[in-house]
Subunit: 214 residues, 2 copies
DNA sequence: CAGTTACGCTACGGGTCGTAGCGTAAGAGC
DNA sequence: GCTCTTACGCTACGACCCGTAGCGTAACTG
């Protein structure tokens, strides 16, 4: 699915020439290609427009700033994330880690992700866009894996009361920060690959660690 | 200490007017102030020069690119990191987490760190500069904390052979990615504070997790 | 058909990067 | 003291990019 465009109203416009979805796709494809070829530093709106065979003004009718375009261009890659049931919490965590790792080793995401996060520190709207377009898609997997582990009895169920729900949300957030943060750091700062051996060790740490979290 | 300037030769220049160390400091101070006020996006070399009371060309005689200046400006903050012995591995990990957290909550680091990491994905020289100026300073604490835990008997000592040393280095790298990555993600992506409760939970996970790492 | 919106195109203002050239200031070595 | 060498300030500049304005045309709705 395509994320909400900034200039589109919630209520559908019924009249006039409609936006070309083909153009939408061409722009996002061109943006990813430009990220691969140029990285974030030399990525320019004019270049993306040329690659997409589209006027530069057409880009600005859809996205107010280039960082928003980049978020949407990269976000679709996070839709590919899924978490098949591998039978145990340990195996499921390894699966998530490897999925994040593979995604972050792609040059598009490697070039774009930290750049937009950096700009989001001084741009609340961008931070929200990143949250809904990218972060929530990752968090899904954590929530899903945790539910499965609870069904298997590997993790205790959440208390149904209000405090229990809040504690559960905090735990999910913590786990998510650990997994996503560690994989990002490994890939972008340490600049080393996320292979199966490393994923297994990280999964082991998390598994044992979660058991000790009262 | 001040990191190596890009235009300075390894062998000391003996003749001519020496670089003003006072100017060095003024520029780095101005750069941090500019990061606080403007963030990375509006940070400009001309602005830094004006704040430092210095010509813009003087900046470029010391740093080839603005990202390198920013790395050096932020790097000195990481010199403040230290790890007093708190008596147990659990307490020491909490200490590291809180230190990283406090550092990353400062607006200078928040604005600069991810920006330069993003640019380092397409700039090997910058990546190396980040490594020596920032990453190694953080890693120190992990190495130190681990050694203390081994002296206390909380962690098994490293085998003295070659494979043992390599495994130890990998483990240190993994722990470091977990701690630094998780704190960064918490601070910059989830945009939530690193408080003592959260630090304790993360430390607990790590402590239990390390125990289970064969 | 008319009305409305999307699109392409050109041109532009404002801003930043990073450099060149020149005259001057400040030390090192004699 | 003097000379040599380098740092510094200043001005100007080319190149590039962002994001916008204006206008004519295309496409779709009712």
């Amino acid at each position: 699915m395509v994320a909400r465009m900034p200039h589109s109203c919630p209520r559908k416009r019924r009249t006039g020439r409609p936006r070309s979805v083909e153009t939408d796709r061409a722009i996002l494809d061109a943006a990813r290609a430009a990220l691969v070829d140029l990285g974030w530093g030399r990525f320019t709106m004019g270049d993306v427009a040329a690659r997409a065979g589209v006027a530069k003004t057409t880009l600005y009718r859809r996205w107010a700033h280039k960082n928003e375009l980049v978020v949407d261009a990269v976000a679709v890659l996070f839709d590919e994330l899924e978490l098949p049931d591998r039978g145990s919490l340990q195996a499921d965590i390894e699966g998530v880690v490897l999925q994040f790792g593979r995604l972050l080793e792609r040059p598009e995401t490697k070039a774009a992700l930290m750049a937009v996060v950096a700009e989001s520190t001084t741009d609340a709207a961008l931070r929200e866009r990143i949250r809904t377009a990218i972060v929530d898609r990752q968090m899904r997997l954590v929530v899903l894996g945790r539910e499965r582990a609870q069904e298997r009895g590997e993790l205790p169920p959440d208390p149904p009361d209000h405090d229990g729900a809040r504690a559960a949300a905090e735990t999910v957030g913590l786990i998510f920060d650990v997994i996503a943060g560690t994989v990002v750091h490994r890939t972008l700062v340490s600049a080393e690959p996320v292979d199966t051996v490393w994923a297994r060790r990280l999964a082991t740490i998390l598994l044992e660690g979660l058991a000790g979290l009262d």
